[in-house]
Amino acid sequence: MKPQKSDLLQGTLDLLILKTVALGPIHGYGIAQRIQQVSQDALQVQQGSLYPALYRLEERGYLLTAWRESEQGRMAKFYSLTEKGAQQLTAERAQWERVAGAITLILNEAES
């Protein structure tokens, strides 16, 4: 049975996008594919949320865009991470870990 697809909160989508782009310039379709592949199909990004998120991140100066030739030779819009974006990625990652840690604590406590 396929693992359940979970809905992604907006905040965490940003985190995933930043991480994906950190690995190298990539276009929108590529980002969606990569997240799906690496999470082994557990996370599937809705295109409806992907592009608004991309534009918002670009807006805030975390991503840079450029039209380049894709692997197939067609023109596509590539996103890359800025320095500000790299810092944001670190911050968001730290926060994610903090929250996740807190939740784990509570779960553990309740059981005992």
């Binding site: 929108g28 295109q47 409806g48 592009y51 608004p52 534009y55 807006e59 067609r74 903090r98």
Partner: protein, 897 residues
């Protein structure tokens, strides 16, 4: 800003977005095809997976363009929700802001228009008015303010003073306008040809008076309408320009309308007409000409300084010329004026800044404004202090919530933004409510503070600058005080904050600070309440002054037959007598009379007389107030005859007898009976009168003026006349009848200022009434705000001490004890406020001393009264939290952390 790019290069951006999304779909399609799907299926599947393209585009567009806006809106909504969770705080804060911003600025705006704002003329700072105090032999039409000069002097200043760009003259008169069968009385300003030029006023329609319109006496029957009057009377009809209207019986052509907003040089006046000075005789039939009389002082002079010349330089230069003129004129003084030569030469010319109106040029006008500035400022200060206390308390109460947010990584900036949004909402709501309040009370305030017709001259809408200032002040206060505690929360102390009993010392300090704020507010409150009490007492004392005549059951009005064409003395006398007889014949009227000037209206004639048996030390010792009156006058106005007899019908006309008042007898006869003595006019020795009676002193000039010597002659008054009609019953009901009778007897003669004497007396104390009302309003505002502040602090204190109260109740204190505990704390606060406020109020009392009448600025009754009021209000404000304290359940309180 990237979003700007989105807006300005939309087509390119849209195309880009289109291309990007299409790329994605086509890649999906290709992927499906590669995994073996048929091309059609692949395309369909891709479309399905991708979702609605337009929807995505919309969302994407939104995210792009309104990124910041969207976030702000979201934050505002969150702030709104947060505020609605504490409705008490929100309501109180908004109310405070509305009162402090709205009501306060409304009143300030009215005062600003009345006195502070510069005149709407070109470069008002360059305007000066000529002012000269000193002896004035000859006639002075405007002696009180020392701003009048003779026409020959004006001409010399105009033609020979280079330090000025231009020197203009003006003189205020009244007139009657007849047009389309309707007559009304208007204020008229006689102006020199260069008046509009010097002031820098432009026409709204047509043209204005120019130098060519002011050359020869009576040769320029032209008139300029005031903008307001043009709107009101002629409905803003442009075709009136070029037509003729009848002014004081003379046909004059309307040549134009002056610019909107220009209301002349006297605040609160909106002269309806402006007429060339050469046409003066149309309005002053009693004293014609005068253009060549160096000792007839009447014209006000205003001048514009050259840009490179300072006021001091101009004054020095002007005085050089003035000295020459005075020397020359002093040589011509003869007869009774000879002795004044030296003093006359000593007169000095001052240049007073006239940019804010003529009355502002007189020092008195300025000092009455200081207390008003002060009161407005104090109320705003109190409001700010209140808001500060409120937001500080709120931030403190939410310390835990905020600390948690910080812990979750919100960052101080993020939390700060949230608080900022809340403050923006509060100040916005308070400001909006304030504007509504201001609009609501505006009209009423105008009527109460100034006069029933003030809305023709002043605008009731609050001044935007002032409102902006008040908004800014309160916003800054709110932001500062709400964010300040935030900065104290450090990461390290986070765990402390999350635990219960922590921050106690910080909170204690904060409570002390807030209590100090409340005490300060209460002191301000005390000041304003004392001021209100003092002004109210002044008003009451003035109203209680015995005016010497009976103002009850008395109607008065003013009439000028000359404006309706009765220019002949005999004809005017005939119609006036007829009117008087008709009035006396009305059923319900017990007497009618008239005089040349009206009591409490400020006008009077002064004559120099010679008194048998009295040798004056100085010539002006025998300048006496003189009033022409008909035989019915004394009885009608209700003066009391002490000795001798009243005028009778046979006295009327020839003027061989006179009545005097007590002050006259005291000054010239040492208090002996004046009946039988003789007096004569100093300029016309043949005019000799025998004194036949003495009347009791009256306060002709108003309750504040001590009685001065008067003599009354039974001569038919000429020109404008004041009538008095005594009624048997309530005078208000007879007003319409009086008007009807006058109009019947003399159709076409407009009567003006028809009112009961009581109303006239009230007008005479207009300024005092204004002050009393203002102080009462400000005092109430301040008290309300201080009460709110006190309530806030006490609520907080009670909540904080819940545990302590619970313990007390558990060990035996009953509700009354707890009530007493809280109220005692309130009383202490109020007490300190009073102790600080009263002595400082006494110290500052000298500021308002000039406005008071027969009331000391440290009047003990007022002090006591103010103290009681503040104490009472404080106790009431503290009562609600006190009661809440008594409702504490000891069991719950002890368990509360």
């Amino acid at each position: 800003m990237r979003w700007l790019r989105s807006i300005f290069r939309r087509p390119a951006v849209e195309r880009e977005m289109d291309a990007e999304l299409r790329f994605h779909i086509e890649e999906l399609e290709r992927c499906f095809q590669q995994s073996g799907m048929a091309p059609e299926d692949a395309r369909r599947r891709a479309r399905l997976e991708f979702g609605g393209i337009e929807q995505i585009k919309d969302d994407a567009r939104e995210a792009r363009m309104t990124g910041t806006l969207d976030r702000t809106v979201r934050e505002l909504r969150a702030a709104g929700r947060s505020l609605s969770k504490s409705p008490g705080f929100t309501a109180v804060a908004v109310a405070t802001l509305a009162l402090g911003i709205g009501v306060n600025t409304e009143i300030f705006s009215l005062l600003d228009q009345a006195a502070l704002r510069p005149l709407p003329v070109r470069e008002p700072d360059r305007l000066v008015a000529f002012h000269s105090a000193g002896v004035n032999p000859g006639m002075d039409r405007n002696s009180g303010l020392k701003l009048s000069f003779s026409y020959p002097k004006y001409k010399e200043f105009r033609d020979h003073l280079d330090v000025f760009e231009g020197v203009a003259a003006r003189f205020a008169v009244t007139g009657s306008v007849l047009h389309g069968g309707v007559a009304d009385r208007v204020g008229v300003e006689l102006v020199s040809g260069n008046y509009f030029d010097v002031l820098g006023v432009t026409p709204a329609v047509g043209r204005l008076i120019a130098a060519s319109d002011d050359q020869t006496p009576m040769a320029h029957p032209v008139v300029v309408l005031g903008f307001g009057y043009w709107q009101r009377r002629f409905g803003g009809d442009r075709s009136i320009v070029g037509q003729t209207i009848v002014v004081n019986g003379m046909a004059m052509t309307v040549i134009g309308v002056s610019a909107a907003g220009f209301q002349g040089l006297l605040r609160g006046n909106d002269d309806e007409l402006r007429v060339p000075m050469m046409m003066k005789d149309v309005f002053t039939p009693n004293w014609r000409g005068g253009f060549d009389r160096p000792l007839w002082a009447w014209a006000n002079i205003i001048a514009r300084l050259r840009p490179e010349v300072s006021s001091e330089q101009a004054e020095a230069a002007a005085n050089v010329r003035y000295r020459q003129i005075l020397d020359r004129e002093a040589e011509t003084l003869s007869g009774p004026y000879l002795a004044q030569r030296e003093d006359f030469r000593k007169r000095h010319l001052d240049l007073e800044p006239a940019g804010r109106g003529l009355l502002y040029a007189v020092k008195n006008g300025r000092t009455t404004l200081l207390p008003l500035w002060g009161m407005t400022g104090i109320v705003l200060l109190i409001a700010c202090v209140n808001v500060a206390g409120l937001v500080m308390a709120r931030t403190a109460a939410r310390q835990r919530e905020l600390a948690i947010r910080l812990a979750l990584g919100a960052g101080r900036l993020g939390v700060g933004r949230q608080l900022l949004m809340e403050n923006v909402l509060l100040v916005g709501a308070g400001g909006a409510l304030g504007v509504l309040l201001a609009a609501a009370i505006g009209e009423q305030a105008l009527r109460v503070l100034f006069s029933p017709t003030a809305n023709q001259v002043f605008r009731a809408t609050p001044d935007v600058r002032v409102m902006g200032f008040a908004l800014a002040a309160t916003a800054v206060t709110a932001i500062l005080f709400s964010l300040a505690p935030l900065w104290q929360i450090r990461q390290a102390a986070l765990s402390d904050v999350l635990r219960a009993e922590s921050g106690a010392s910080a909170r204690l300090a904060q409570v002390r600070f807030r209590k100090a704020l409340v005490v300060v507010q209460l002191s301000f409150c005390v000041w304003l309440t004392i001021a209100a009490g003092l002004f109210a007492r002044t008003l009451a004392k003035l109203r209680a002054v015995d005016l010497g005549f009976r103002k009850e059951n008395l109607i008065t009005f003013s009439l000028d037959p000359g404006v309706a064409g009765y220019k002949d003395f005999a004809a005017a006398k005939a119609v006036c007598d007829r009117i008087e007889q008709a009035l006396a014949a009305i059923p319900g009227v017990t007497g009618a009379g008239r005089s040349a000037y009206g009591a409490l209206s400020g006008g009077i004639n002064i004559n120099r007389i010679e008194i048998d048996g009295y040798r004056p030390a100085k010539p002006e010792d025998t300048n006496v107030n003189q009033l022409d009156a008909t035989p019915g006058y004394v009885k009608a106005i209700g003066m009391q005859l002490l000795t001798g007899r009243d005028f009778v019908a046979s006295d009327y006309g020839p003027g061989r007898v006179a009545l005097v008042n007590q002050a006259f007898a005291r000054k010239y006869y040492g208090g002996e009976n004046p009946v039988g003595r003789r007096i004569r006019s100093a300029f016309d020795r043949k005019q000799e009168m025998e004194i036949v009676g003495m009347v009791r002193d009256d306060r002709y000039f108003g309750p504040r003026q001590e009685p001065s010597p008067f003599y009354y002659t039974p001569t038919p008054p000429f020109g404008a006349t004041s009538y008095y009609v005594r009624t048997a019953t309530s005078p208000e009901t007879m007003l319409a009848t009086v008007r009807r009778v006058v109009e019947q007897e003399a159709p076409g003669v407009p009567l003006s200022q028809l009112r009961t004497m009581q109303e006239q007396a009230d007008l005479a104390v207009g300024t005092e009434k204004q002050f009393a009302t203002l102080a009462a309003v400000f005092g109430t505002l301040a008290t309300l705000l201080a009460a709110i502040g006190l309530y806030g602090v006490m609520s907080y204190t009670v909540a904080r001490r819940t545990r302590e109260i619970g313990i007390r109740m558990a060990i035996g204190a009953d509700r009354r004890d707890v009530l007493g505990l809280v109220l005692r704390e309130v009383a202490v606060l109020v007490g300190i406020g009073l102790a600080a406020g009263i002595p400082t109020a006494i110290a500052m009392g000298s500021v308002i001393r000039s406005q008071l009448y027969n009331v000391s600025e440290s009047d003990p009754m007022v002090m006591a009264g103010a103290g009681l009021v503040v104490l009472a209000v404080g106790l009431v404000a503290g009562f609600v939290p006190a009661r809440r304290a008594t409702a504490v359940d000891p069991m719950r309180a002890l368990r509360w952390e």
